[in-house]
Amino acid sequence: MTEAFLSVRNLRVSYQVGRNFVHAVDGASFDIPKGSITGLVGESGCGKTTVARALTRVIADNATISGGQILFNGKDLARIPEKEMNALRWRDIAFIPQSAMNSLDPVYTVEYQLGEVLRRRGGMSRAQARKRSEELFDMVGIDPGRLTDYPHQFSGGMRQRVAIALALALDPKLIIADEPVTALDVIVQRQILDQLKELQTRLGLSVILVTHDISVVAYICDRTVVMYAGKVAESGSMQAALTAPSHPYTMGLRNAFPDLQGAASGVLTPIEGAPPNLANPPTGCRFKPRCPFALDLCGSEPPVVDVAPGHPVLCHRASESAALRIEAAKTETWMARA
């Protein structure tokens, strides 16, 4: 099914910092197809976590959704009343926060915390909740005997599994996971990703995975949304974004990443400079100050160009992307600006 399951249109989220407004997300648009894993990638401060949180409307006190739409099941999540949104959370859309440790209360057993969700929000009886908890633990690969343990008795990876179980409690259709494996060691990371993929296929879930790591995207995602400085630089299938990136930022990101499968003599190429300060973003294309292909026209707002069906790119030079890709593969291209 290619029909969009969740559709974000021109989303804007602003933070109030003192007397200034910072647009952490400034006009993001993308679609999430049903039954897929979408990777939301970008560097710190690019707005990926803000987007993820805006989708569940669990945002900071000083933040507001200042524009755009979040279309889900015929409703605009950016506008529906809080009560209606609250009914959707957990039942339809579940959120796995960045640190599983913080999402679990250290003074209660895991069973109690799962039961709380199942009984309060799912309306289950004590016995039903118990049965469901065991089922959930089984699903995420933890011995149900450990239900009566406290969060501190679990290792980091186990806690992440508990967090996944908690998110799955009420059979949501969409799971949003914020950097679910970032704090974990590579082996545990791989095992958790495998688990997530297996559950996603088995339960037909849609998953949005927020990450800074393109190799995580490469491992489990079907689609990619690349964000830079509050805007979506490009979005499309994972294959296309990684093997044929069309935005210079994505090309640069690919070059900067070490690849264990690549040649030993390979040189990593950084993108010089740092992401812009969102309190005072550059006019026109926000990647312009770091982009080796920037032209004068990049000083004006870049257009969204579909380089292929379902592969929009926010770049003035998107039509030349095939040629730019060849240039971008050379280290000298990126060094020239340093």
Binding site: S155, Q189, H212, S215, A218, L260
Partner: protein, 329 residues
Amino acid sequence: MNIATRKTDVLVSVHDARLHYRVGGAFAAMRGKSTVVKAVDGVTFDIRRGESVGLLGESGCGKTSMGRLLLKLEETTGGSIHFDGEELGKVQRKGLKTFRSRAQLIFQNPFDAINPRFSIRATLSEPLENAGIPRGEREGRIIKALELVRLPEPAQFLDRYPHQLSGGQLQRVVMARALILQPEFVVADEPVSMLDVSVRAGVLNVFRDVRDRLGLTAIYISHDLALVRYVCERTIVMYLGRIMEDGPTEDIVHQPLHPYTKALVAAVPVPNPDQSHDPLPIGRGAPDPRNPPSGCVFRDRCPSAHARCAAEVPQPRQVGTRTVACHLF
């Protein structure tokens, strides 16, 4: 620094080094709960001058503790570490001062490694001041060090404070501080893990470049084999305080021998769509430093564990270019 005039080829020699902590207090001991954590447990290796060695392992494997032992930020509770022929345990006062200027640390978190109240000038002056460099010479040395780490127009940074710099710039300042006294030996503890992907490569390139230019001997501590491979020709794989495998990085990447290394190499994520999704050759669970298994510490997760692994600690054995601690070899 004239390397040729040195007597021996080995700069750092670690022999059966141990770092055991006592955790919990007298009460835990009375209740019979194991109270000794063996952060480093019988580690032996040599580092030759000019060599770059990666210390690879998961969190809790003892790699950071090992790095701290090498810099005498922690004292060994057993075994010995020699730096240029001198035993670190016996280095005191004046000797320690000299050692501090010869061996340096590059920190993991640049946002934490520089005092937020100090300007960049004050930050870089501190080691110079301690080494007794006269006031007049300091500024020149500072500028030189900042140029070395490729901070453009270094003079403009001198009076700035850490919060005015980006992560990549800060990490270069941290490197400049480590290099300003022209050390021979540098331990880098996950120097890019706190940085954004797009700037990591820049810092890594500076590290490689400076190391080659100054002929540094370097230890690079990381959990990421891909990064270790980028900067080190040799890799030491640690697990629960012990060395599992030690050898040329390329050999380890392409043909890991130890079952743990095999799992580790297979688990490293790669930024390519076509990659193996096979289950890892390793059991679930996590290493518990407070309660390691008997014999081989990896046996509870090892797919090829057999009876001997529980009974006997595997001793490191030479296998081709490598040293492996496993009963399979």
